[in-house]
Amino acid sequence: MNRIEEKFVELGTQQRAALMPYLPLGYPTVEESQDLIRVIADAGADMIELGVPFSDPLADGPVIQHATQVALKNGVTLAKCLAMARAARDAGVTIPLILMGYANPILRYGIAAFARDAQNAGVDGLIVPDLPPEEAGAFDAATRAHDLALIFLAAPTSTPERLQKIAAATRGFVYLVSVVGVTGARAQLAADLSSFVARVRAITSKPVCVGFGIANAESARQVAQIADGVIVGSALVNKIGNGNAIQAAREFIAELRGAINHKIE
């Protein structure tokens, strides 16, 4: 069983949602983000999404855009991201690690070579925000061959037919985009989020995790009551971008973990 599946089985017995921070690799510096993987794991994250920088991140709002531009300036490449995942494993990080990055750098690297190297680096899954299931043939085959979960996104605008297709194609979990829009912390959760989660749950027994827009512990607590996982990106990036990244991340992850650390009602 893939580490992601094992984690959801474990969380299921504890009746608890997963805390899944998104960490842009190479931000604010390469050294700090290398340390942040371990710090975030130790502070209570259940899985980590490791952001691979791309020059043209279409699905991202200003905060993550900025962080990934900084990462590119810091010289981060897909190959370096794989090396950072490997180093985190060597430093004792055991929770699932999921790479999140756009299609082009993976195509340039070569899909088959990427899948092989990702597995060797101890990566468990892959999220590609500009890759709908229709375009994923080669990605799907290569990731299956190397026991990586290829995780697809569902959006509030997805039609019922598309939700079926996404739920059938995704492995690990369904990544539910909570807002019509790009990444970025929002003051409030989308009003229709729980009905969206319910629509997805009605068609799949796979875990459903919610991301995009979750700003703070209170939002995370609310999402944890309806979903199997809570993904926090821009809000974490904001915290680590204001100096003293390690301490800020440790405190914020602990706070988020506290907010969702109760059993699902």
Partner: protein
């Protein structure tokens, strides 16, 4: 697979947009078959855009080259000054038909922004145009034109602050406001159905030119030449001649030369990849990061090319070459002096190639050049390049 030209094309976009792309594809296919829509498009093309645009025999340029006869398809005489209006009109009508009230567009040279703003004013649609701040500087008169036409111009500082970055921002806006908003993409690129849809709205160029050429010379031209930014004016010309025994050349921006790395000649390096929702040739580094480009003409200054062109390149139906900044500027001056026409710097790239080719061809052969737009917007650039300020 959906929307492919050979292996190129497709829909590499965030899931949020997938339903909107399907809706657009359906609406476009329905409109295509609908006489009322077609009649409206044809009527406004005549009375708003000013079609048909003339086919002009450039006799002095021909004499100067001493070879093949050179004809110009005068898209520079279309309303708002470039071929961009054909597509803006078609998509504007389609947006209205779909019940969208808000339009977002990107612009490089400003021509597509001006065309979109004009069509939105005429149809009563809200219009937001994203433009790189570097391009706003280079194309200041067009920024003011858009404002006069009622559009809001939003400057984009990210990346190289040019066309690529404006497209990123327009797509992000679309992802956020997709329920009310149509993205009026300005070239034959992006996710399906844009490459096909934009080609169909621009195909009027080639259909007219073909009929005009048959009427004037009683035969087809030997060679077609057009500049290639995203690829819309060229595909619009080429499409009507695809089954004819006619050679075709697309001219990219050679900038400061290929060796300098400062250019937008995608076919000179020919590396496939994904940018802005489509699989095509993309200028990129070894790590798959999209490279900065350079061209004296903002409208050719783009790191990817429409996917149909990628296929036409692979199958060798169209030959692709480039003109450098200097060659384009020279052609600009030559056309001005010899024919009394100031071409857009984009179009000047095609003229530069025509001058080279015509010289090597016999006098009884014919070259047809698409003059995609007029050069009024480029006066500032030409002045500073000529050291006049």
């Amino acid at each position: 697979m959906i929307g492919r030209f050979g292996e190129y094309g497709g829909q590499f976009v965030p899931e949020t947009l997938m339903a909107a792309l399907a809706e657009l594809d359906d609406a476009f296919n329905a409109a295509r078959m609908d006489d009322a829509f077609q009649n409206q498009f044809v009527d406004l093309s005549a009375h708003f855009t000013g079609r048909p645009t003339p086919l002009y025999f450039a006799s002095r340029l021909t004499e100067f080259c001493g070879g093949a006869k050179i004809y110009l398809k005068r898209e520079d005489l279309a309303h708002t000054g470039a071929h961009k209006i054909n597509n803006a009109l078609g998509q504007g009508l389609l947006a209205k038909r779909m019940g969208k009230t808000r339009i977002v567009a990107e612009t490089g040279a400003g021509q597509h922004g001006v065309a979109s703003a004009a069509v939105c004013a005429m149809l009563g649609l809200e219009c937001i145009v994203y433009m790189g701040t570097e391009d706003m500087r280079r194309q200041a008169p067009n920024v003011y034109r858009m404002k006069l036409l009622g559009a809001e111009v939003r400057g984009v500082d990210a990346g190289s602050a040019t066309l690529k970055d404006a497209i990123n921002e327009a797509i992000r806006d679309w992802v956020t406001n997709v329920q009310t908003t149509h993205y009026l993409l300005g070239s034959a690129l992006g996710p399906h159905p844009y490459p096909t849809m934009v080609r169909e709205f621009q195909a009027v160029i080639g259909h007219e030119a073909r009929a005009q050429m048959l009427a004037t010379e009683k035969r087809l031209p030997d060679l077609l030449i057009a500049c290639v930014g995203g690829g819309s004016n060229s595909i619009g010309l080429f499409h009507a001649f695809r089954d004819d025994d006619v050679a075709m050349i697309g001219v990219e921006a050679g900038g400061l030369g290929i060796a300098s790395g400062k250019h937008a000649a995608r076919f000179a390096e020919a590396r496939p990849g994904v940018l802005h929702g489509t699989y095509t040739y993309v200028l990129q580094d070894d790590d798959g990061q999209v490279r900065a480009t350079h061209s004296v003409s903002a409208g050719l200054d783009y790191p990817a090319v429409g996917p149909e062109h990628a296929h036409l390149f692979d199958t060798e139906r169209v030959g692709y070459t480039y003109a450098t900044d200097d060659e384009a500027l020279n052609a600009f001056h030559q056309l001005a002096r010899l024919e009394g026409i100031l071409p857009a710097l984009e179009s000047a790239h095609a003229v530069a190639e025509a001058i080279k080719r015509a010289r090597e061809m016999p006098r009884d052969e014919i070259v047809l050049v698409n003059l995609s737009g007029r050069g009024d917007k480029d006066l500032q650039t030409v002045m500073s390049a000529s050291g006049e300020q």
